[in-house]
């Protein structure tokens, strides 16, 4: 039987910065510390032991607030091992490169899963948990804000507005025979800033610009298709969904980078929002095609909209940066840069068939 190993170390009493020489020994569940002629005893469990690392000194905090400090880390670790002091599993993990790489792979898998499924699922769930009244309240407030910044009163004749509204309404009624369509309110506004555009806000507030009506003046079916697309956003609550997603992504980035600088943190959040918004557009397109079909309008009517948008954006190509998200986050204009490629969307509506979906 060998005697318990003892270690010559340094101890601070917590009252003065003056070091004292001590010798340490572990015996039957206790740490024995010999200071000059006195031996102090501390239960092992009440000492806060240092975590083993390659670099840095070792400090053990005693229950009376005093501190053992050992400069030679290797010597301390050898003594701790001989004395039977155990590291926690996490500390062992951090010492091994192989385990670290496993953790790295695990983090990547987790982040990928969160990106693909976790965040969309959570944001959809949360967005649908928000009560209708709050949803409407949020929509009203963003509408007011947009109204002040970008929208002017519509110059369309009331008759034309009513006709379009009626056309859309009858399509919705046919597409939702049970009358379970989401609540919607349609307003027309002139907006030189936004140009030909339409968007949906939380609470079912939909806005179509005079410029878009003018662009498709001979294609009322395409206009109804655009509104059906917006109704898709309303039904999926994409406005709220986007707010929640953006926040979740920033939170994730914050966890990964810790106290990263603001600039670094905004880049992934912006990219993510763009990617997600492309997905929501596809989903709203699919919704629009289904609605149009059910409402007796051929979905291919929507193709005209994209064709005209395309030729229009070619006309003013040099300044064609419709990429700004003017609406303060909650609006979803139909023709912003994050929308899927127009040609792809034209093909989608042209080739849409009933059995392709659902």
């Amino acid at each position: 039987m060998n005697a318990p190993a003892s270690l010559h170390s340094q101890w601070f009493d917590g009252q003065s910065p003056k070091p004292h020489a001590v010798s340490l020994r572990v015996d039957s569940g206790e740490l024995l510390m010999r200071v000059e002629d006195e031996t102090r005893r501390y239960p092992l469990a009440r000492v806060r032991w240092p975590e083993r690392r390659t670099h840095g000194q070792r400090q053990a905090e005693l229950p009376d607030g005093s501190l053992i400090q050992h400069a030679d880390a290797a010597e301390w670790d050898a003594w701790a091992e001989v004395s039977g002091l155990q590291d926690s599993a996490v500390v062992g993990w951090m010492q091994s490169w192989r385990a670290t790489l496993v953790a790295l792979a695990g983090s990547v898998v987790f982040l990928a899963a969160a990106w693909l499924w976790g965040v969309p699922w959570l944001s959809q769930t949360l967005a649908h948990q928000v009560p209708d009244s709050l949803d409407r309240h949020v929509g009203q407030q963003s509408l007011q804000q947009l109204d002040r910044l970008f929208l002017r009163p519509s110059e369309l004749p009331q008759k034309q507005q009513d006709e379009l509204r009626q056309r859309f309404k009858s399509m919705v009624e046919r597409a939702y025979p049970q009358g379970d369509a989401p609540h919607w309110e349609l307003a027309f506004h002139a907006s030189p800033v936004l140009g030909p555009n339409a968007f949906a806000l939380p609470g079912g507030y939909m806005v179509m610009t005079d410029e878009l009506v003018a662009l498709l003046h001979d294609q009322p079916d395409a206009l109804v298709g655009v509104l059906a697309h917006e109704l898709g956003h309303v039904e999926h609550r994409d406005g709220l969904d986007m707010v929640v997603r953006a926040s979740l992504i920033s939170a994730l980035v914050g966890v990964v980078l810790g106290d990263a600088s603001g600039f670094l943190a905004t880049v992934p959040a912006t990219l993510a929002t763009q990617a997600y918004s492309r997905d929501t557009e596809r989903r709203a397109d699919a919704h629009a095609a289904r609605l149009m079909h059910a409402g007796g309008i051929p979905p291919s009517a929507m193709a005209v909209f994209f064709e005209r948008m395309l030729s229009k954006s070619e006309e003013d190509a040099p300044r064609g940066d419709g990429d700004k998200d003017e609406g303060g986050g909650v609006s979803l204009p139909i023709a912003i840069g994050s929308h899927p490629d127009h040609l792809e969307r034209i093909r989608f509506f042209r080739e849409w068939e009933v059995d392709v979906e659902r």
Binding site: G14, Q15, H55, E61, G65, A71, T100, A103, S107, Q144
Partner: protein, 400 residues
């Protein structure tokens, strides 16, 4: 006997001016080790839906402090992660509440702002107390002695512009149509608030730092910061000047490139192509300048600010010295950014360690007389959940 001989001169010299001792700072942390800590902490934080965050944070702080050697002795970090966890939950709740109000009920945002204003200075002070109380050197805990009133007096002015907007803006939002004169008045008020506030920022910063650096205590030595607001103004102006120079030089270079391109290829191009090229080049050029400015001005300000703060911080027996050079910090920052991009972020922990080493090792302390004879003041025991919460919430910004 020999021992007595050693002691004799010290006793005799007790009345003479104490010898000045220089304690230099060394940082012994390694990037590869911090990388492993970071990755494992990250995974645990992710899979616990951030519930592990306070534990990860305690470990990270402990790693950096244990590897900071002041005169050969490391700093200790003693916070109990379980207490930090309690605080983390509290702060998480507050944060989610604030987020929900500002996103879903923007009309009530002013209440959230008021609550925030009322809490923030107290939380900030509590976080300083928490962090210092849990930091030790040679077994003696540090502490923070700044009072609550001082925290509010130095912090609250930062909320004035936000408050001014909140108080002023409702008049505008109520009206359906904004009358032009109302809009103009709004723009004037907003513009002047922003201007006045910008002009006051260095002065406010000086007040905050004087409060913060006037509250550090080690063994009855309380520091103070004697740097006048004028020097803060000088630094802010110089940083602005540096940013301007970078922007101008960047713009000039890009203009030169465009000019050369124009001579070379524009001649045979159709007008549409030219416009398309300009449309492509201009955003890229703006992007380059947008990246270039912080790349230069951040390390410039960082280095000068650290020197300004710590060279002015002293107590009766302790003087700090900081000689961080802009050139070194710029080089490290540049390499860090490049490597972080190239490695898709995996270089991040290495970058943190490198920066910490550079910043810390630029500092040293001068102390009068033998530190061994100093005594800690009676330990404060006033602890509350607020301190733990705040300690987890705020990073401690010591200007390092």
């Amino acid at each position: 006997m020999a021992q007595q001989d050693d002691f004799a001169p010290t006793v005799a010299l007790a009345d003479a001016p104490a010898p000045v001792q220089t304690l230099d700072i060394r940082f012994t942390g390694s990037g590869s080790e911090y990388f492993r800590i970071w990755i494992v902490n990250l995974l645990l934080t992710l899979v616990t839906f951030t519930l592990y965050a306070p534990f990860a944070r305690a470990r990270r702080i402990a790693y950096f402090q244990n590897n900071t050697l002041v005169g050969g002795d490391p700093l200790g970090f003693h916070a109990d992660p379980k207490k930090m966890f309690r605080g983390y939950m509290l702060v998480l709740l507050l944060g989610v509440g604030y987020w929900a109000v500002s996103n879903f009920l923007p009309g009530l945002a002013w209440i959230a702002l008021l609550v925030f204003m009322a809490l923030w200075p107290a939380l900030w002070r509590a976080s300083l107390q928490f962090r210092l109380r849990n930091t030790s050197w040679r077994g003696v805990r540090l502490s923070f002695a700044g009072d609550l009133k001082g925290a509010y007096l130095s912090m609250l002015p930062f909320f004035l512009p936000a408050l001014a907007f909140v108080l002023f803006l409702p008049e505008v939002t109520e009206g359906e149509d904004m009358a032009p004169e109302v809009a103009r008045r709004g723009a004037i008020v907003m513009g002047s608030v922003v201007l006045v506030f910008t002009a006051l920022v260095p002065w406010l910063m000086a007040r905050i730092k004087r409060y913060q650096h006037g509250g550090y205590v080690f063994a009855q030595q309380r520091t103070q910061l004697n740097t006048g607001a004028g020097r803060f103004y000088g630094l802010f102006l110089k940083t602005g000047g540096v940013s301007l120079v970078v922007a101008l030089v960047g713009a000039a270079l890009i203009a030169l490139v465009l000019f050369v391109l124009a001579r070379g290829m524009f001649v045979d191009m159709a007008a549409g192509q030219k416009r398309a090229l300009v449309a492509l080049v201009v955003p890229v050029a703006l992007g380059v300048i947008y990246l270039l400015i912080p790349l230069v001005s951040t390390p410039y300000f960082g280095a000068r600010f650290q020197n300004l703060l710590w060279n002015g911080t002293r107590s009766e027996k302790i003087r700090f010295d900081s000689a961080l050079r802009f050139r070194s910090l710029f080089r490290v920052t540049l390499v860090n950014w490049l490597l972080i991009v190239v490695t898709l972020g995996l270089y991040w922990p290495f970058a943190k360690v490198r920066t910490a080493r550079l910043k810390l090792e630029a500092m040293s302390l001068e102390v009068d007389g033998p530190v061994d004879d100093w005594l800690a003041s009676a330990q404060q025991t006033g602890k509350g959940v607020l301190g733990d919460a705040a300690g987890d919430f705020f990073g401690m910004d010591m200007g390092l």
